[in-house]
């Protein structure tokens, strides 16, 4: 499983970083990106899904 943040859609709501700080990081302006290649370590799938399900801008996608 891999997560990705669409930087054209992210507006810096910071929900993903709050819910899954091991999977997402925010820059100095508050915009989010997936850490590294976005690979979700085993056991963190629920965190990834929570981040996706709480993004108001529908900016996060998941690839299985």
């Amino acid at each position: 499983m891999r997560v990705q943040v669409d930087s054209n859609k992210c507006q810096g709501h910071n929900r993903c970083y709050a819910l899954a700080p091991d999977l997402f990081e925010v820059d100095d302006l508050g915009f989010a990106s997936a850490i590294g290649s976005g690979l979700v370590p085993p056991g963190m799938e629920d965190r990834a899904r929570a981040a996706i399900a709480n993004c108001p801008e529908y900016a996060i996608t998941i690839e299985d």
Partner: protein, 413 residues
């Protein structure tokens, strides 16, 4: 009686063709109105305020928020004083960046974003926590008091004063300024213009700016005075407009969110008991309170004639953007009218959508979380003592302005 909470407009009889966001029924309980409109007339129109549109579906509200070409942000508070075409300095607007359109908007916003990113906001948490404790301790020994007036309203005003480097003692003064701007929107136009021109807030901010010019501080005011856009210092109008924005946007809004959350817990003992027993639910509860009681309805003006969802929008029309209505849309939120404090999927739009996402959302969340944590630790058992005495603010920021609470026998703090 013509106190400031008395509507100046005739009562509304038909919400689809004559809505008014200052009407008593809307102020007391707007949710059934929005539900009915969503089902029967999803983009309503009213001739009031010189012509205003009202979408109520999440889908349409999002579409407007994303469409900065057909909708301008140059004026975001619907009032009887509709600005004329030459009154608003495009693209900056009177309070950048909330009143700015692209492309200027992005520059003005980037300047402020770092100050409101998660890390600097986290640094304000200890100040906020000790402030909350101080306010709660001041209520010790009382069996009943007003949670909106004695607790919620003081938190954001003092946090923003701290950020701007303004005296903590001036908090009451700020609230007065803000009320003049955002709550008294349905008074006659001449009165609105007279209040604006009376210049109280402008004079106050100018005095603080002069102090900061003489003695620079490590705060947002000095930051704005020293900031540069394209190699030039910001114009004084830009600095003052942004400071007005920070005061207006950061105070009534967060006060409303804290107050509405406390009101919910005071009127829903099952949620209150559960949150006390399972404090780990606070993060989802905070998001759910933000969804269900989102305080802020934004506004736009139509930038050019065009048709939106079959409606003939005309340049200069107002459009109310009720994010709280989007948050109650059953097409996006199952059980939209039920407060579910452990709701796992919650894409609420309390902080708006698109490029104008609330700049202070991290700050507001921190304040709301700390305010509830400290309240519940101090007063795990409380209820509204007089439900009829609870009043809600009128206009585009909705929250309880009086919440008489009675403290129960279980006390911890």
């Amino acid at each position: 009686m013509t106190d400031e909470t008395t509507p100046h407009h005739p009562p509304v009889h038909d919400w689809a063709t004559d809505f008014d966001h200052t009407d008593r029924a809307w102020v007391a309980d707007p949710f059934p109105i929005w539900d009915e409109l969503r089902a029967t007339c999803p983009v309503a129109h009213s001739d009031r305020y010189g012509g205003t549109w009202l979408p109520t579906r999440h889908e349409d509200i999002a579409a407007v928020a994303y469409d900065t070409e057909h909708f301008t942000s140059r004026s975001v508070i619907v009032s009887e004083a509709r600005p004329g075409p030459n009154e608003l300095p495009a693209p900056v607007g009177i309070a950048p960046p909330i009143t700015s359109d692209p492309p200027f908007h992005a520059m003005a916003r980037r300047l402020l974003l770092p100050a409101f990113a998660p890390k600097p906001v986290g640094a304000l948490e200890p100040f906020t926590r000790s402030l909350c404790r101080e306010l709660l301790c001041a209520t010790d020994g009382k069996d009943s008091f007003d949670a909106a007036i004695e607790y919620a309203q003081h938190i954001p005003v003092r946090v923003i004063a701290q950020m701007l480097g303004f005296p903590q003692a001036d908090a009451d003064l700020f609230r007065h300024f803000i009320h003049q701007i955002i709550e008294a929107v349905d008074v006659p136009e001449a009165e609105i213009r007279e209040r604006r021109e009376s210049g109280d807030l402008g004079e106050y901010i100018e005095a603080r700016i002069n102090e900061h010019l003489e003695h620079p501080q490590d705060d947002l005011t000095t930051f704005l005075l020293e900031a540069e856009l394209d190699g030039n210092k910001l114009s004084m109008d830009h600095v003052m407009g942004t400071m007005v924005l920070l005061m207006i946007a950061g105070i009534d809004t967060t006060w409303s969110a804290i107050g509405a959350s406390i009101w919910h817990l005071a009127t829903h003992p099952e949620d209150r008991r559960r949150l006390v027993a399972e404090p780990e639910l606070l993060p989802t509860a905070v998001e759910e309170f933000l969804r269900a009681y989102a305080p802020v309805t934004m506004a736009r003006m139509v930038a050019q004639d065009f048709e939106f969802q079959g409606c003939p929008m005309r340049e200069g029309d107002w459009l109310l953007l009720p994010f709280p209505a989007a948050n109650r849309d059953p097409a996006v939120f199952p059980d939209a009218d039920r407060v579910v404090i452990d709701r796992l999927e919650n894409r609420h739009a309390a902080f708006g959508l698109g490029i104008h996402r609330c700049l202070g959302s991290n700050l507001a969340r921190m304040e709301l979380t700390v305010a509830l944590e400290e309240w519940l630790a101090h007063y795990p058992d409380f209820e509204v003592s007089d439900p009829a005495a609870v009043t809600w603010s009128a206009g585009q920021v909705r929250g309880p302005r009086t919440i008489p609470v009675r403290i129960g026998p279980v006390r911890i703090g």
